[in-house]
Symmetry: C2
Amino acid sequence: MPKALDTTIVAVVTDIRLGTEPLIGYGFSSFGRFAQGGLIADRFAPRLLRADVLDMLHGDGLAIDPLKAWAVMMTGEKPGGHGERCVAVGALDMAIWDLAAKARQLPLFRLLRQVFETETSLVSVPIYAGGGYAFPHNDLACLREEAERFRTMGFRAMKMKVGAHSLEVDCRRIETVLEVFETGDKVAIDAMNAYSSPRVREAAAAFEPYSLRWFEDICDPLDFATHRAIASAYRPPISAGEALFSASDARNLLRYAGLRRGHDVLTFDPAHCYGIPEYARILAGFLDQGWSARDFQPHGGHLYSLHVALGFGLGGCECNPHNFQPFGGLADGTAIVEGEASPPDIPGIGFESRNLLMDLFRQLVQS
Amino acid sequence: MPKALDTTIVAVVTDIRLGTEPLIGYGFSSFGRFAQGGLIADRFAPRLLRADVLDMLHGDGLAIDPLKAWAVMMTGEKPGGHGERCVAVGALDMAIWDLAAKARQLPLFRLLRQVFETETSLVSVPIYAGGGYAFPHNDLACLREEAERFRTMGFRAMKMKVGAHSLEVDCRRIETVLEVFETGDKVAIDAMNAYSSPRVREAAAAFEPYSLRWFEDICDPLDFATHRAIASAYRPPISAGEALFSASDARNLLRYAGLRRGHDVLTFDPAHCYGIPEYARILAGFLDQGWSARDFQPHGGHLYSLHVALGFGLGGCECNPHNFQPFGGLADGTAIVEGEASPPDIPGIGFESRNLLMDLFRQLVQS
């Protein structure tokens, strides 16, 4: 059986040396959108490789300026059609930020705070465990076991999937997780854009009594009218953004979807949104309209999104402790303290703190 | 100087024989979005190659059912993010329709009429010449020469680019073309999504007195609020759709952009919109709201968009007689009669009627 979904990994290798080691940045395309290798190899990497190095050098002389490199990658790209290429660029952008932070001997979140002048001094962010997919056998028992495992690891909240079963079964699944996490504000549900417009109205009515943490990706991400209808009828928070990949699409969500400032949650994935420069524009668009950075909880559940959350002072982020390995989760051996976590205190994104992941990245550089 | 833009070509080769020749379908990714080879090779073609042939066979037993093949290609694809993959799928879908029409010994437009039960008996459609890009030297003289060449070829209308110069220069360019085509309804302008929201308001005011055929891609294709503002202030037609690639995005254009039914023009490119099945859904969405198929003028300017226009009874289509060769334009030696044209009366899309193009496609099959 061929894999239905994988991810794309990139390494940006320089001729700079840090001690005896070459300076290398690593990136990958987060989870859910895949096969970006051709776009990277045929369209975006060649622009970087062809560019005059002086057009990408930072004013401080310390290697690459990620914002300049981003402008080089996007040369000639047309407005509209924000899918796939945004993931290809996001993966390259991640590697370039990793590189830039390593060149300055800073963890990524500290470089983000410098570059974007964010006013935050958080040392950790709230995280929640991503999981709760349907199990092929003994679904409810396995789901309870998974939730218990998350609690034992120190998570104080988790997100589970809905939409693959009848509403009756999904209600039983939610109740099963609530037996472990106890209150609705600890449990988010994610419909993965599966519901049709009529169906999500039924689902919202069925789920509302649980007063859940949030109801994510409730329908087609571009069906703003249905978002508006649910936001006006369903009292607990909804969340949106994971399947929108540009500042233009984000502006439409803001204009048309009727989301409730300070109540609903924004899950844009920076690795899917052309990387950090565009994510910063998305964030700025919401801040301009009175939203808070605390309303953002980036999708991903890996070290990179943890840095983005800590660097921009966001409300928290997902963590995938066992799904999407070896990419998901925290640095090897990281403790979750009072439901919060920090990235490792090493330069860059800190992929080097994860042994299995580095085995993979090193193959890329050696090949 | 590396090429900034190319296209992606595909061949779908079968073990069916038509006489002594193998049955092969050809497709390409139209113009403007490129480097789809990786997405095709890593994500979409493998689904077709893995599929059970019975899941794609038409009930008539005559080779592949393009609608079934489309469903196979889209297996597991997620809602949202309609860019690039829609072009990869569109190129494969084009080749599959070419194949399916050849297997039935029909020109593509006749197969489209059968499959979609379109009520049209047109034998030709109005076409207009696409061109009018800025020339690096002697721009106005070259532009006039190009317009005269189009007229001599039999075109009764053309489309030219605006937005690369000041409004004053663009007005002189428009006036130059009007000296050849005489009346505004013969000359469309295309800003290629280059104008910012404030700038397009100035541009619309400057261009309005010319009463042009239409004003295309006026700003960011996802900035529906600006479309609405221009549609309410600018009297002549505007056109939109070329840079929207799905039925979900098209529905937002319909919901939010304030376009005027029976007045404004829809330029969706079927090869960029996941191919014909999704294009048919886009069309149906507008027809449901009282629009006419005559309001559609697909982007592309090649034989495939001519078949789509003739098959669905659209208002006409673009023709690129000298740009984007060897893909743009009609069958070799085709006459334009009273501003209208037909595809060649041979099975499939009729790429075989274009010698230079077939040289390219044959290299793909032989390699």
